[in-house]
Symmetry: C2
Subunit: 403 residues, 2 copies
Amino acid sequence: MKMLPGIGVFGTGSVVRIIVPFLRAKGFVVVAIWGRTPASAQNIAKELSIPFYTSKVDEVLLRKDVDLIFVLCSPHLHAQISVKALGIGKHVLCDRPAGICQNDALKMVKASQYYPSLISIVNHSLRFLPAFTMMRKCLRDNYVGKRIDLCDVRIRISSLIDETEGYDWTCDERMGGGILTLVGSHVIDLLSFLTGLRATRVHGVIRTFESETARVQGIRRVTAPDFATFQLELGGPINDYNLLTGDRPPLLVTVQLMSSNQAGAFNQELVITGEAGALWVKGGDLHGRRNNAKEECLYLDVEDLENPTGNESLPRPYMKGLLKMVGALREAFQSVEDRRGWVKEPVADAATFQDGQYVQAVMEALRKSSRHMSWERVILADEEEQDLNNPLLTRAAAMLRHP
Amino acid sequence: MKMLPGIGVFGTGSVVRIIVPFLRAKGFVVVAIWGRTPASAQNIAKELSIPFYTSKVDEVLLRKDVDLIFVLCSPHLHAQISVKALGIGKHVLCDRPAGICQNDALKMVKASQYYPSLISIVNHSLRFLPAFTMMRKCLRDNYVGKRIDLCDVRIRISSLIDETEGYDWTCDERMGGGILTLVGSHVIDLLSFLTGLRATRVHGVIRTFESETARVQGIRRVTAPDFATFQLELGGPINDYNLLTGDRPPLLVTVQLMSSNQAGAFNQELVITGEAGALWVKGGDLHGRRNNAKEECLYLDVEDLENPTGNESLPRPYMKGLLKMVGALREAFQSVEDRRGWVKEPVADAATFQDGQYVQAVMEALRKSSRHMSWERVILADEEEQDLNNPLLTRAAAMLRHP
C-alpha cells in the first residue's frame, strides 16, 4: 500500500484532539505539532504521542516528512501559516473561517492560485455529511419543486468560549471568536454548496448577550458574539448548475444561531421549502415530504462512528463530516503512486480558498449590516484591503498601471 | 341566575362556526347574525340555529335584545361596524387585527374612549391561554434571570386562504389577508402582554411565495403574504411593570411565520432566553430550565375542552384561548345584576382597542421595512391619517387651533 503524506498540525485545541486519532485511523502519519507556547506544544504532543513538537512555525513547515498541513490554530494565524506553507510546497487544509477578515482570505486565495498543484481547502466539513450531499441531490432532482421558497437554518450550541483558557481568542470578535465566524461560516458555505448560489445582499443582527463568564470578568469583556439572526438573498450563480431558473427573484435564506449554556443541548436544523414540498436535515438525518404526502426519511444516520460520542466543541454532524472529509483526502492521495501526488475528484466538493473568501465577504457584510441596521451588498474584494483603503497606495497603484 | 347579554355576530367564516357553540355553552344567547349577502347569512343562521339573520348592519345593531357585538367579518368592515355599535351603545368584541390599517384602529380607539362604560376588546385570545399567563408570571418572578436576552417565536400553519370561497379578502393584502395580519398581529400583541414593552424599531421581510392556488389563477393573484420574518426592538414600557430594568438596551425579538400546505402541521413555539435560564411555550404547554438544570414542565395542557379537536383555521391554542376569553366575558357580566352591566376585573388583561392600534402601527412599520429593506420606527398616530396626509386639512386644523 502507498504511503500517505506526512501531516503537520498547527494548534492545540479540542478539535486537534479529535482529528489526530481520525487521521491515524485512516492511515495518515502525524509527524509534527505546533503550539503557541513550547509548553502547550509539549503537552499535546505527549497526550497524542506525536514525535515532534515546537512553537516555531518554520520548524513544522520546513520538515521534509511533512507534506500536508492542518491549520487548526487561532484564526489570526491562518493566513500567515497557510500562505507560507503553500510557498514551501505543502498541501494545506485550513480551519474555518479562512483567517479573520476578507483580506486574510484573499492572501490565501492568491497563494492557492499561484500553486494550483497543491491542495488548498477550508475545513467546511458539513459539505461531506451524507445528509447534505443527499439533500443537494434531491434539490437538483426537484424534490421540492422548481420554485424554491425558503432555506431556514437554526442552530443552538453550547458556549463557544474556551473556559479552560481564561481570556483567549474565543472571547474576542476581532481575533475570530464567536458564533458568526465559528458556526455561521459553516452555514454560509453550506448554503452555497447546496444551492449553487451566492449571497448578494444580506441583513443581520449580531449580539453578545453573555459578555462576562466565570473566568472573564471585570475590565475584560467577551466581545465574541453568541447570537446572530440573518437573512441572505442568494442571487449569484456560482456555475452552470444552481437552483434559480429563469427570471426568479433571489432565493431567501433565514438563519438563527445561538450559543449559550442556557439554551439547551446542541440542535441543528436546516429546512428547504418549495412549491411542491420540503426537505430538512436534523442532526445527521435527511427527511422530506412532497405534496402533502406523509413525511419520509431519505437518509438515516446509522453509520457507526469510530468515535461516536461527539462533544461540546465539535457536535456530531461536524465530527462526522470531518471524518468523511479525512476519508476523501485519503482517497485523493491513495490513487497516485508518489507520496505527495493526488487526484482532485475525491475532494472536488471541498470548500476552496475562494469559497473561504466569499464566506469572509458575507460575514463582513453581516457585521456592517448589524452595526448600521441596514441591508448590505456582499462585496468580493480582488485587491488586498491595504491597497483599497489607503488612497495614497491606490493612487500609486493606478499610476503604475496607467502611467 | 342572571340573564347574560344577547349577542349579535357579524361574519359567516369558520371562526363563527366555532365560537357560537362556545358562547351558548357559557350561557350567552346568540340572537342575530349578519352576513355579507342575504344567502350567506341565511345559510349560517340555519346551520347554527340563530333566530334572526340579515345582510344589513343596522338590523343587528339596532335590535333591543342585542347587547354585545362580535365583529368576526372581513377586516375592512371592522372599524365601521365597531364604531357604529359603540355609538348605539353596544359592547364590542372585534376580531384581530382591528381594521385594515392604523387609521381604522384609531377611529375605533376614539369611539372606545368616548364610550368608556362599554366593553371594547380585540380578539387576541392567546392572552388568555394558561401557558402564556403562567409564562408572564414566571418572567415577573425572574425565572430566566434579570437580564432577558431574546424572545423567539416560530409559527407554522396551513394555508390561510379560504379555498371554499374563490377569491376573497383572505387572498388580498389590502383587505387584511395574510400571515402578518392574521397570525403576526397575535404575536405582536402577545409579546407586549408578556413583557410589558412595546416595539420601537422593527425590521421585516414579508413575502407571498404562493401567489396562485387551485382557485386563484390567471389574472388574479394572491397578494396576501404567506411568510414573514421579523425583528423587533422592544423598548417602550407600557406601564410601571416591564421587563427592562435600569439602562438596559432594548429587548430583541425574532419572529418567523409561515403559512403553507407544504410546510407541515401546525406548530407554534415561543422561547424566552435569559442569563439564568429559558422558558418556552410549545402548543399549550409551558416548559422551563434554570441554570443548566433539567427541563421542567411548568404548565401541562391537560384540561378538557368541550370541543377538543381544533381545526386548520383555528389551531388549538387559539381556540383554547378564545374559550377562556368567552369565560372571562361571562364572569365580567355575571357579577352585576343589570343585563348590560359588567365589571372590568375578569377582562382586565384583554387587548384594548389601543392595543389594537399599536399592533397596526407595528404592522405598518414592518410592511414599510420590507418594502424599503430598512429598519423603521413604530409611529403611533394620534390624528387620523386623512388629516395627517392631507397638507390642506392639516393646515386648516392648525389654523383652527392657533388662529
